[in-house]
């Protein structure tokens, strides 16, 4: 028997080698099959504000490639207000113009990371302001010229055309992929899923007593949780069963959760995120706040991983393309996406520490090695440097570079 024990242990290892390590028995909780929750026959699920902001973000990202737009147009879309807060109508969609929501006010605006950090929040918003500004002033005038090192213009990306600044960076990609972190991810992980928001004021008592918000069927805590859900699944045509159209619904968290899920090395992550949202929401209804927080932690971990995998993926792809026969510019599109995803790492959240996996300072250093350290940006960065950055991210998150790269 003693002699067979190691054999049995090894066999056990063998059998579990490919399984997820999170299949622990879960306490009994009444789970609906879909993200559907009701009180007295009325749906308690609501996230209009998130759906609206995702739509605004889509419109702005599209407008960044429309040279008929002026700088003030683009900035008005970002603020949904004029420079002095006056009402504006920059969107084609009248519903967006009529909305009192704005993208800019929710950038770097989470309770946990930024409520007492106006310095960083202001710096981050200034960075965001600079992209539409510089797109209009640097890239639009160079729209019909071929870009060169130190000169904005077009570069070829297969049969696509990309529009870059003098350092090879696509401002529209930097903007979109940074917004995915600074707005969608930050609001989800560090605001709506945070106990400081979920448990604010009398939320727990009201939840237990079933006290709903004025004129609504939902309690404040339920609504906060759903607002987090809305930043991931709020653009789905069937938000109660969002996995059916995952990836087609927006160009932000929804799309990239799907992209990572499509990679065999990470498949199942979308289902895990959805299940955690579902369980956490059911736990709120059941007054089980410990379970709620466990699921919030799970979502924080998984969505942070999405950012990290995509950052590594684009760094890997960009470093390979830098070396192609087409010259370095073939890699600029991937590197521009990578730039935004790396930037977004500062909004991730390690549930073990409550802090980002990469600090804002670390992110700044990485972006310097990727782009900022060179007078001609991506035209000058070495492929090996790009790969090292990808490896650094993969190591921190404990996945393999190759798994993310393919």
């Amino acid at each position: 028997m003693i002699r067979t024990l190691p054999f049995l242990l090894l066999l056990g290892l063998l059998l579990t080698a490919c399984q997820d390590d999170d299949d622990l028995p879960e306490p009994v909780l009444e789970l609906p099959a879909t993200y559907t929750f009701e009180r007295a026959g009325m749906s308690t699920v609501s996230f209009d504000g998130q759906t609206t902001r995702i739509a605004m973000a889509e419109a702005l990202v599209a407008a960044l490639l429309d040279t008929t737009r002026s700088e003030s147009d683009l900035l008005a879309m970002f603020r949904n207000a004029g420079p002095n807060g006056e009402d504006v109508s920059p969107f084609v969609d009248a519903a967006l113009n009529a909305s009192d929501k704005s993208l800019r006010s929710k950038v770097a605006a989470s309770a946990d990371y930024f409520s007492a950090n106006a310095t960083d929040a202001t710096a981050i918003r200034t960075t965001f302001d600079s992209y539409p500004r510089r797109q209009a002033s640097e890239v639009y005038p160079a729209w019909n010229t071929v870009a060169q090192a130190g000169q904005a213009g077009q570069v070829a990306d297969g049969t696509s055309t990309r529009y870059v600044n003098a350092g090879g960076l696509e401002y529209n990609q930097a903007f979109a992929k940074s917004l995915l972190g600074a707005l969608m991810l930050d609001q989800t992980l560090n605001n709506y899923l945070s106990p400081s928001v979920l448990d604010e004021a009398r939320n727990r008592e009201n939840q237990s007593a079933g006290v709903t918000e004025d004129g609504a069927a939902y309690t404040t805590m339920e609504h906060k949780w759903d607002e987090a859900y809305g930043y991931v699944f709020g653009a789905s045509p069937t938000p109660a069963t969002p996995l059916t159209s995952l990836g087609d619904d927006d160009s932000f968290l929804n799309e990239y959760l799907d992209r990572v899920d499509q990679d065999d090395d990470f498949s199942g992550i979308a289902e895990d995120v959805f299940r955690a949202f579902l369980r956490g929401r059911a736990a709120i209804v059941a007054d089980d706040f410990t379970e709620r927080d466990q699921q919030a932690n799970r979502i924080q971990e998984l969505l942070s991983r999405v950012i990290a995998v995509r950052a590594t993926f684009y760094l890997a792809r960009g470093s390979t393309a830098l070396e192609s026969a087409n010259g370095p510019s073939a890699g600029f599109h991937a590197l521009s996406e990578a730039y935004g995803f790396v930037y977004s790492l500062q909004f991730t959240r390690d549930p073990a520490t409550g802090a980002p996996y990469f600090s804002r300072a670390e992110v700044g250093t990485m972006l310097d090695s990727l782009y900022g350290d060179y007078p001609t940006g991506f035209w000058a960065v070495e492929p090996a440097t790009v790969r090292e950055l990808g490896q650094q991210i993969a190591d921190r998150f404990a996945f393999s570079y190759t798994a993310a790269a393919n």
Binding site: P6, F7, L10, L11, L13, L14, A17, C18, N144, T145, V146, Q154, V155, A156, D157, G158, T159, S160, T161, R162, S251, E255, R317, T320, E323, S324, A325, N326, G327, H333, A334, E337
Partner: protein, 341 residues
């Protein structure tokens, strides 16, 4: 305890696909590269440049005297050059890739409104790849009431084709051939890896998807006749496809080709030589294509089923070439699907 060690490899393999274990070093790749360069790729460039020069000359003659006979000559020379391009397109390594010949010579459908509105467009801009090359000529020569109204633009477009062809051929013959043949290792940047990647990518995207799958609506919600190649000349699309398919099977089956390489390594699938299976699949696609209309736009409109069968036949070889062959030859795929954003 030691006898348990035999379990360790099992443990490591548990999550990995079965690796290919063939000794690719035993095959003389340098000799194969010399053959590819001197017997296949450079001759394809020479043919194509000659055809582009003839086309350019006949367009100039047509510009001087826009007579029906001169137009007929232009149209014939257009078809000859377009067919010749099909035999070169699979081999975009080195100068051909650098000059982006595939993108600048044959992106279709051409953007007709911009083609007419911007007849003096800067053809070196990446954003203008869809208003030049053969698809743009196809529209001007066959899709307008009177091509004579567009002679200057025809001249600009054929000049551009001739310029790109000459540049690429010159680079190949003067400097790149030596580099290409000498780079006979098997790393991601070695010539065999790059050539085979170019070939497989072309087979998958340009031959299978571009010429057949997209017009047949495989990636959308139904047939898209206006996505067929050579839409305006009408009776050329099947011929262009067959020329490409022949280029593929000739390259595969050349005296020192991929079939030779695979057979030398003894690569088999389900009892057969892999090369035999790939060859049979090329044959099946050719037989299927022979039964189709000369105009693929007509074919997808009248009987898309035949077109879908051709697509399926081509797709079976994507798997054999891209998965089985590349794995056997230890070549990594270096192209990826476009990101779509």
């Amino acid at each position: 305890m030691y006898r348990l060690l035999y379990l360790l490899p099992l443990l490591l393999l548990a999550c990995e696909p079965e690796p290919a274990e063939v000794d690719t070093a035993s095959f003389d790749r340098g000799k194969m590269l010399t053959f590819w360069a001197d017997q296949i790729i450079v001759p394809a460039y020479q043919d194509f440049t000659a055809a582009a020069r003839t086309l350019d000359a006949s367009v100039n003659a047509y510009a001087t005297a826009p007579e029906p006979t001169a137009l007929a000559t232009v149209r014939t020379d257009f078809a000859t050059a377009y067919l010749s391009w099909q035999r070169l397109s699979p081999f975009m390594v080195g100068p051909g890739q650098q000059l982006r010949l595939r993108e600048q010579l044959n992106v279709y459908p051409t953007d007709s409104s911009r083609l007419f509105a911007q007849s003096d467009a800067d053809l070196t801009l990446p954003s203008n790849t869809d208003i030049q090359g053969f698809p743009a000529l196809d529209l001007l020569l066959f899709g307008t009431g009177d091509p004579a109204q567009h002679v200057e633009q025809l001249q600009r477009l054929t000049d551009r084709i001739l310029y790109l062809a000459t540049e690429a051929e010159d680079a190949w013959t003067t400097t790149y051939r030596a580099t290409y043949v000498a780079n006979s290792g098997n790393s991601a940047t070695a010539s065999v890896d790059r050539t085979v990647n170019s070939f497989v990518q072309w087979y998958e995207r340009n031959l299978r998807a571009g010429k057949v799958g997209i017009p047949a609506g495989v990636f959308g919600n139904g047939p898209l006749p206006d996505r067929a190649e050579a839409l305006y000349s009408g009776d050329l699309s099947r011929a262009l496809f067959l020329e490409g398919l022949d280029a593929a099977s000739n390259f595969f089956d050349a005296e020192l080709g991929l079939a030779t390489y695979l057979d030398a390594l003894g690569v088999r699938r389900d009892g057969d030589l892999l090369s035999t299976r790939i060859r049979a699949q090329f044959r099946e696609a050719r037989t299927q294509a022979a039964s189709l209309d000369r105009d693929f736009a007509t074919q997808v409109t009248t009987d898309n089923g035949g077109m879908l069968q051709l697509y399926d036949a081509l797709q079976r070889n994507v798997i054999l070439l891209k998965v089985d062959m590349l794995q056997a030859l230890s070549i990594n795929v270096d192209f990826v699907d476009a990101d779509g954003d």
